[in-house]
Structures are given as structure tokens and as C-alpha cells.
């Protein structure tokens, strides 16, 4: 009976007093009741510690053992075991994960660019307390634009149109003045807007070429953009694909009789060119 009472007393004595408001990366001192020796366990995200302790004295838990925000279980065993659950909250946001899509975007396209930013503390815990994020994007030759956004559950995002001019678009996400993360989206010319072709007979056939090809915002289309030249003469139709090189696409068409030549690239159609037969 005495032994039973003793063990109950021991179990009651071995109580844990966890301080409230624990924040990731801060050491903690856990109070205990009673006397004698006991074994202390702490199980949490990424942590499992076991230590011999003296009841009645405070148990020091090092900062490195409380770096992960989340749910912890502290257990103290002295004959019987007593446990207590507690939470560790994330610290202040000092780090940003910033994902921007795409890496290359055609100019003058609606909602072509989007970005997602996640706020983390110094131990990479997701900071769930709302923070104000400043998104800013700037391209050469245009004034920077910015948008303020409040994180929700650690996340803020934006979507925007691409600019009118080809070139790098600098995008940044910032918390206050201290934490800034930058990304670059390469804005490239969109599809050709207008095609104008000219041609002349040569000894080898008809040499046709485009005038410098640009998108609807006036940006030269990238090298390699394919232009299809089509020649129709009598019952014959022939086509040749030519890549744009330094803004211009060229092709030689073998035809001796009168022909009508047209050009197309993507959805853009060029003018028709009529050439008479070779004399």
C-alpha cells in the first residue's frame, strides 16, 4: 500500500511546466516538480532527445533542439511517465522563397508572368503570421511598377502582363528593406505581326526575302523564327521554309514561268508578289 502510494506521489510529483509562447530557435527551461532522478524525453519535428534529469530542477532545452516550429511532446519518467504537448511558433520572416514563371515570356501578353513568394524564418519554418510583401518589376526604359500584397498562410502571389519591349524584366519580392529576392524574366518578341516580301529573278531562280520582321510591339522577332514562302505557278505549288536571320528570312525558289509568291509565319500573312516568266 505504501509502495503504491509512493509511486502515485512520484507520478504526481513528476509534472512538467512548459513555458508558453515558445518561438523557434530559442532555448527553453522546463520546470519539474518533486525530487529524485528521472528520464526526460522530447519528441518533435526533427528532434528526439533523451536525458537523465533531477526532479525539482529546471530542464534546459537547447535552442538547436527547438529550431523547428510545430508540435512537441515532452515526457518525464520516474517510475510512471507524465507527458505534455506544446507548440513552438515560427520566428520572424527573414527568408523568401520566390518562384517566378515563365523564364521567357512573349511581350504584350496578358497575365503572362506570375510569381509566388513564401515567407520563412531563419530555420526555414513557414511564417504564418501575415506579412506585407512588396512585389516590384522593372524593365529597361520603363518606370518600375510595384504591388503590395499580404501573405496568407505564409504565401503571397501576383500575376501580371508582360511588357511591350523585349529584354530582361527584373522582378523582386521584399519584406521591408532587409529581405529581398530577385528573379529575371526574359521578355522576348512575340509572333510576327506583318510580313512584307520582295523578290527578283536571278540566274539560279527567284530570290525572295522579307523586310525586317517585327512583332506587333515593334520588337524584332528572334532568329530562327520560320517563314514559309509559297510559290504558285500554273498547276504547280511549291513551298520552302526559311529561318529568320538578323530580322530577315530569305529563300530561293526555282521557277521559270510566271509565279505568285506569298509568305506566312505563324498567323501572319504577307503580301503577294507576282513575277513574270523568264524571257
Amino acid at each position: 500500500m505504501l509502495i503504491l502510494l509512493g509511486s502515485i506521489a512520484m507520478a504526481q510529483d513528476a509534472a512538467l511546466h512548459i513555458p508558453s509562447g515558445l518561438v523557434a530557435g530559442n532555448a527553453a527551461r522546463i520546470g519539474t516538480n518533486g525530487g529524485g532522478s528521472a528520464t526526460f524525453y522530447l519528441v518533435g519535428p526533427g528532434v528526439s532527445i533523451k536525458r537523465d534529469v533531477e526532479l525539482g530542477k529546471e530542464i534546459s532545452v537547447a535552442a538547436k533542439d527547438l529550431q523547428a516550429a510545430g508540435r512537441y511532446v515532452a515526457v518525464i519518467c520516474s517510475g510512471n511517465c507524465t507527458s505534455q504537448v506544446f507548440f513552438v511558433a515560427p520566428g520572424k520572416p527573414v527568408d523568401l522563397s520566390f518562384i517566378v514563371h515563365p523564364s521567357r515570356a512573349p511581350v504584350a501578353e496578358n497575365d503572362a508572368i506570375s510569381g509566388v513568394a513564401l515567407t520563412f524564418d531563419e530555420f526555414r519554418n513557414l511564417v504564418l503570421v501575415p506579412s506585407t510583401l512588396q512585389f516590384q518589376w522593372s524593365a529597361k526604359g520603363s518606370s518600375p511598377m510595384s504591388r503590395s500584397s499580404q501573405t496568407r498562410e505564409g504565401i503571397a502571389w501576383f500575376r501580371t502582363n508582360s511588357g511591350k519591349t523585349a529584354g530582361p524584366l527584373q522582378i523582386s519580392a521584399a519584406i521591408g528593406n532587409d529581405v529581398t529576392t530577385r528573379r529575371v524574366v526574359q521578355q522576348v518578341a512575340s509572333i510576327p505581326c506583318n510580313l512584307r516580301i520582295k523578290g527578283q529573278r536571278t540566274a539560279k531562280g527567284i530570290l525572295v526575302e522579307t523586310e525586317p520582321i517585327r512583332d506587333c510591339s515593334g520588337n524584332p522577332v528572334p532568329d530562327g523564327t520560320v517563314v514559309t514562302f509559297t510559290a504558285r505557278g500554273g498547276d504547280h505549288t511549291s513551298s520552302v521554309d526559311a529561318p529568320v536571320k538578323q530580322d530577315i528570312a530569305r529563300a530561293t525558289i526555282l521557277a521559270s514561268g510566271p509565279v505568285t509568291i506569298s509568305a506566312a509565319s505563324g498567323v501572319a500573312m504577307g503580301n503577294e508578289l507576282r513575277l513574270g516568266g523568264m524571257e
Binding site: G46, V47, V75, S83, F87, S114, L126, E153, G154
Partner: protein, 176 residues
């Protein structure tokens, strides 16, 4: 006669072993197979596609089953890349520390109510709220030192991997 007895004893032993094995398997399967539901009606700014919804559900369920086995057996062989980033680092560290201290954890009768709260415009990150309910037990030297029926709220970040969705962040919070 003696041969008959040996055969009969052998058959009985095999039968008992099979019954025992089947019972163990069913108990283990029941314990290690979490029940997961996913609600995507509040996901924004992008709607979660049906195929993606199925994949997230399947992979999250598999991740928890694997984590349960890993923390019970103190071996990461079951995890197989289902946890990456912080979630992966925490799980690895926890298994290693448990092993060192001869501690293990058991998650039994898992039930997870998942709700997608954010799905990025390009579909490369999903944030989920998980209201998880399970019987949680901590064992030290195979002796139970903590046992509870827990209801735990998790903030989860998942990203698509090569052939599955992986858990990148798993953070318990007192409430949503």
C-alpha cells in the same frame, strides 16, 4: 504412423502461421493505411484538376503511411523520396535521433481531412490544411511512455516531383 503425425503437426503449424500472418498483415495494413479525404473547393488562384486531386490524395496518403513505418521502425527505407526539403530533413533527423535513443513512435488509426487552400497559378505548389486524427504512442526501449488520441492541425506544402507529388513542408500548428 509417426510420419502421419509429423505431417499433421506440420500442416497445423503452417496453417497457424498463415492465420497469424494474415492477422498481423491486416492489423498492420489497417494501422499503416491512413484514411485521407481532400476538399479542393477553396483552392485558389488555380483550380485543382481532377487528376491532380487524385495524385495529391494518393501521394499524401502514401507519405503518411511511409512516415508511420519510418518512425515506428526507425528506418528511412519506406520513405523513398516522398518527403523532400525541410520535411525530408526533419524526418531523417527524427529517425536518426530516435534510433540513437532507442525511442520509436507509432501513428495508428490515422484519419486526415485535407483542404487545399492555395494552388499556384502555374500548378507547381499546393498548400493544404490537414486536420489529422490518430492514436499516437511514444515507446522507449519498447515500453510505452506516452499515448494519446491526438487531433493535430498541419500546414502542408506539396510540390510535383518527377512522377509524384512530394511533401516539402509539414508544420503542425495549434489551429488554422
Amino acid at each position: 504412423m509417426r510420419t502421419h503425425i509429423h505431417i499433421r503437426t506440420g500442416c497445423t503449424a503452417v496453417l497457424l502461421a498463415l492465420i497469424f500472418g494474415a492477422l498481423c498483415f491486416s492489423v498492420f495494413a489497417a494501422d499503416s493505411s491512413p484514411h485521407v479525404t481532400l476538399n479542393v473547393s477553396k483552392a485558389s488562384p488555380r483550380q485543382v484538376e481532377a487528376l491532380t486531386q487524385n495524385a495529391i490524395l494518393r501521394d499524401y496518403k502514401f507519405a503518411w503511411a511511409s512516415m508511420g513505418v519510418a518512425l515506428q521502425t526507425n528506418s528511412l527505407s519506406s520513405v523513398n523520396g516522398l518527403f523532400v526539403g525541410e520535411a525530408g530533413a526533419h524526418l531523417s533527423a527524427e529517425v536518426k535521433n530516435q534510433q540513437q535513443n532507442d525511442v520509436s513512435s507509432r501513428y495508428r488509426n490515422q484519419s486526415h481531412k485535407l483542404e487545399a487552400v492555395f494552388y499556384s497559378p502555374e500548378g507547381d505548389i499546393v498548400e493544404l490544411h490537414d486536420t489529422a486524427e490518430y492514436d499516437f504512442e511514444i515507446l522507449a526501449s519498447s515500453k510505452s511512455i506516452h499515448s494519446e488520441h491526438a487531433v493535430v492541425h498541419y500546414i502542408v506544402l506539396m510540390t510535383p516531383g518527377a512522377d509524384r507529388w512530394v511533401v516539402r513542408h509539414l508544420q503542425a500548428v495549434p489551429q488554422f
